[in-house]
């Protein structure tokens, strides 16, 4: 009996579950799914930002599934590339504008934890005997019978191929899910039009403190199928990096990790110490910067740019912190002020400078992106098209005011959710390699949803007259783009900064430069400069501050007008407070005029009565954060090599 079942089991496996190996082992197929076709047409410099979401969950994630989502990766891909799908709760869902790329980042633990229970026989047909059987079966009935006869004989003689004996592989539901997933991605990845990246979320959460990372691969499935997603439970970030390094060594591929929700880490995401609590080493710092070139600065579960406690002089700090600032992810521990510097990206960038002075390497030299972290399989970032953090709060009347599930049901409410952000990548084309490489060199930026076009170039001789010529070429040839670094030349750095409004969105209020540096006393400082704003003639500085842009939002109707603000803001700007030898970073923050948040759209749609304070929180100035440019002191002999050459 046992032998018979074994044979039948093998038959099923061989009959039905050979897909990925067949596809991937075909070199032509790999070439076709690669990017070769595109390389010939790439422009010299990136000429437009490509928009995407690097953080989307589908029904493969156990938590998303638990919340009720019944849409899988295929629906997610269709939706992201612009097709209409039916949301789990039955509504038609579609983006106004398609996205250019997507990373489906289902929890690796969700895939692994269920593996025994959901195990159906499946394996890759690498074994020559299995291949022969597979081929026989596809020849026709005679072949099929012969194969089964051979199988039974093999089982009787205890000659079942090794591949069928290995319980580690047999039990590999993760393997099965991953292989199916990779095959699906290859079918939807369309170089030049839509890029589908392989990735997963590594969900480590010691004591409820969020240390999650999204892991994103550059490669096609001929490489990515050689690994499975790395589990988050009982593992640490350094082990994740081991995994990433092993992948690169074994396959020649590339992979990066994107930390997120530092705002829910209770200070643990960006610590001043090493992972063991001792002083951070240069080796650790270098490794972290190389593995994690980009951080998610904004998403549905709040914004992590900065906190008013950390940036008391920044009157526009505090976007997207309501509710989230109270504690860690499940709200099992409240947040105290001493934790904040390790939870927000601006202070982390400052800590990076300090650590670089101490150790010779900057662990927090990262670029910034936005993402959704949606658990609905729908990568929605628009306020008027918000499908919720998870299926439990897809559009319905009760979602805005209901206490939400993360935590003790105290202190966090539906309206605390942001509609979610997106990542913009300055790539030369819409392919895996081009967009991934833009992430590696940090030529990316974050938005809280709108698609404004933000350019930043830094050099030492930029001036207003550059706008008259081909300033993009000037930017790339005489300076560095966002994410790059300058070496101190004894001269104040100058910048070309351009922000173009979302063509289908709100006008712009202002463009700011956020500078961080380490003072002579060794203490890290920050300063926000208003660089250019709309109606500058009328809005003159008053007491050092630029007057507010105004507010056209009709709260009851969830509408606004573009009668204030500007279509484009651009300026050549030179740091007025430059000091020779300063170790500094500069990033750009672009603010839209006030617009209604999803809460007001809900109130109108469902005829809700919502409290006055929530209505006021229902209006916000959406924003973009560029990746920084770093100004580093000229290397002294004996200094450790710079860490930021990365890509």
């Amino acid at each position: 009996m046992r032998k018979l079942v074994m044979a039948a089991w093998t038959t099923t496996a061989a009959l039905t579950l050979v897909g990925c190996d067949m596809v991937a082992s075909d070199p032509d197929a790999a070439a076709q799914s690669g990017d070769q076709a595109q390389t010939a047409e790439l422009p010299e410099f990136p000429d437009r930002p490509y928009w995407g979401d690097t953080h989307l969950h589908t029904d493969v994630s156990v938590d998303a599934f638990g919340f009720g989502v019944r849409l899988g990766p295929e629906d997610a891909l269709k939706f992201a590339r612009g097709e209409q799908v039916t949301a789990t709760t039955g509504m038609p869902a579609q983006l106004d504008r398609p996205l250019d790329f997507l990373v489906i980042a289902d929890h690796s633990d969700a895939m692994g934890a269920t593996r025994r229970l959901f195990d159906a026989p499946r394996m890759l047909v690498r074994d020559p005997v299995l291949r022969r059987w597979y081929d026989l079966m596809h020849e026709g009935p005679e072949g099929s019978q012969r194969a089964i006869a051979e199988l039974i004989t093999a089982a009787a003689n205890d000659e079942i191929p090794e591949a069928l004996r290995d319980p580690e592989r047999q039990a590999g539901a993760t393997r099965a899910l991953w292989d199916n997933h990779l095959a699906l991605l290859e079918r939807y990845n369309q170089p030049g039009t839509f890029t589908a990246f392989a990735g997963f979320e590594w969900t480590a959460m010691p004591d409820g403190n969020n240390l999650h990372r999204v892991v994103m691969f550059r490669d096609n499935d001929d490489r990515t199928e050689q690994v499975v997603p790395f589990p988050g439970i009982d593992t640490e970030a350094e082990q994740l990096w081991d995994y990433m390094e092993a992948y690169e060594r074994a396959t020649g591929g590339k992979v990066l990790a994107i930390p997120h929700n530092s705002n829910l880490s209770n200070g643990q995401m960006f610590e001043l110490t090493g992972p063991d609590g001792g002083p951070m080493t240069a080796a650790y710092a270098r490794r972290r910067a190389a593995r994690e070139p980009v951080v998610e600065a904004t998403q549905i579960k709040g914004d992590s740019e900065t906190h008013p406690f950390l940036s008391p002089n920044d009157e526009l700090a505090g976007f997207g912190i309501a509710g989230w600032e109270l504690g860690n992810l499940p709200l099992t521990h409240t947040t105290t002020p001493d934790m904040l510097p390790g939870s927000y990206v601006r202070s982390a960038l400052k800590r990076g400078l300090t650590l670089e002075q101490q150790t010779g390497a900057n662990p927090y030299a990262f670029g910034l992106i936005g993402a959704t972290d949606s658990h609905t399989a729908l990568a929605t970032g628009d306020e008027d098209n918000f499908f919720g953090k998870h299926t439990g709060n897809e559009p319905k009347a009760t979602r805005a005011m209901r206490p939400q599930n993360l935590g003790t049901r105290v202190g966090r409410f539906g309206w605390n959710y942001l509609a979610g952000g997106y990542a913009a990548a300055w790539a030369r084309g819409n392919t895996r390699t081009e967009i991934f490489d833009a992430f590696m060199r940090r030529e990316v930026y974050a938005t809280t949803g709108p698609r404004m076009t933000v350019r930043l170039f830094a050099g030492f001789d930029f001036a207003e007259q550059d706008w008259e010529g081909d300033w993009v070429r000037a930017g790339y040839t005489r300076g560095v783009p966002m994410g790059g670094q300058l070496t101190d030349s004894g001269k104040a750095p100058s910048f070309l900064i351009s922000a173009l409004k979302d063509p289908d969105g709100a006008n712009l209020d202002r463009v700011q430069v956020v500078k961080g540096w380490v003072g002579a006393d060794g203490v890290a400082q920050e300063q926000v400069y208003d660089v250019v704003w709309s109606d500058m003639a009328k809005r003159q500085r008053n007491g050092g501050k630029v007057p507010a842009v105004g507010d056209t939002v009709d709260r009851a109707n969830a509408s606004y007008t573009n009668t204030i603000g500007a279509a484009e803001l651009r300026a050549a700007w030179t740091d007025p407070d430059y000091r020779a030898g300063q170790n500094a970073f500069y990033y750009v923050r672009v603010l839209e005029i006030p617009t209604p948040r999803w809460v007001l759209f809900d109130a109108k749609r469902f005829g809700l009565e919502i409290p006055e304070d929530v209505i006021e929180q229902g209006v916000a100035q959406e924003r973009a954060y560029s990746s920084p440019v770093w100004l580093r002191p000229a290397a002294r002999p004996g200094d450790a090599p710079a860490i930021m050459e990365g890509a």
């Binding site: 009996m1 039905t16 229970l117 159906a120 026989p121 009935p141 081991d242 409004k501 484009e568």
Partner: protein, 261 residues
Amino acid sequence: MSRALLREPLLHFLIGGAVLYALFAWIGTPVDPASRTISLSRSDQAQIAQGFAQMMGRPPTDAELSGLIERRVREEVLYREALRLGLDRDDPAVRRRLATKMDEIAAASAEAETPGDAVLEEWHKAHAGTFETGGVVNFEQVYFASEAAALAAKGQASPSGQPISLPRTVDAKSMVELGAIFGQQFAQEIAERSVAREWQGPIPSGFGWHLVRLSHREEGSVPPLAEIRDRVEADWRNSTITARRAAAYNALREAYRVEIE
């Protein structure tokens, strides 16, 4: 029994399903959940180590291996206890995963199959609309913040417009790309305009107003199969997978009488 029927993926699916069912029914779980003995043989441990090596590209250290073994034991203990408590029953996640597995089995043959030229040629012909590339346009544009300024400049031979960081000349862009750069409204307007030597407009965009000299328009076309073979194959595969899942489900569904009050 015809040859064709035996080649039918649906039949493979049904056989596979039956075998799976038999398998589950027979082995149920690898170990009696009531058993309080967990044994990890030397070969089990070797396989755990091998799994680690596959993922990390090196064998585990002794400490790592004992950690992995401890994790395996923990998982096994909790797994058995969960089964004892019947947590696998009426769990929507479990039900969903098993249902998904059935779908995957139905789809697997289509995932592995290499369609021949004839199949793809037919698919390419039958779904030409899917593969049609949208039209592209070439034009020059100048920008004005107000409609009045644009109108005033329209009579000029070469209006200069106002500065904005938008491309002055646009070559071979699709309407989708125009939408991303200039906004949806502008793209729709351009889609309806004809090629002309004169400046047209003002055309509104998300930024303001534009005078446009539309120099070339290429209508959409269906590229030959040779150029887009991988796309056609991917589309064929997606559709075939969906169809086979549906066929497999319908065949199973027919065996059920469903009563909905």
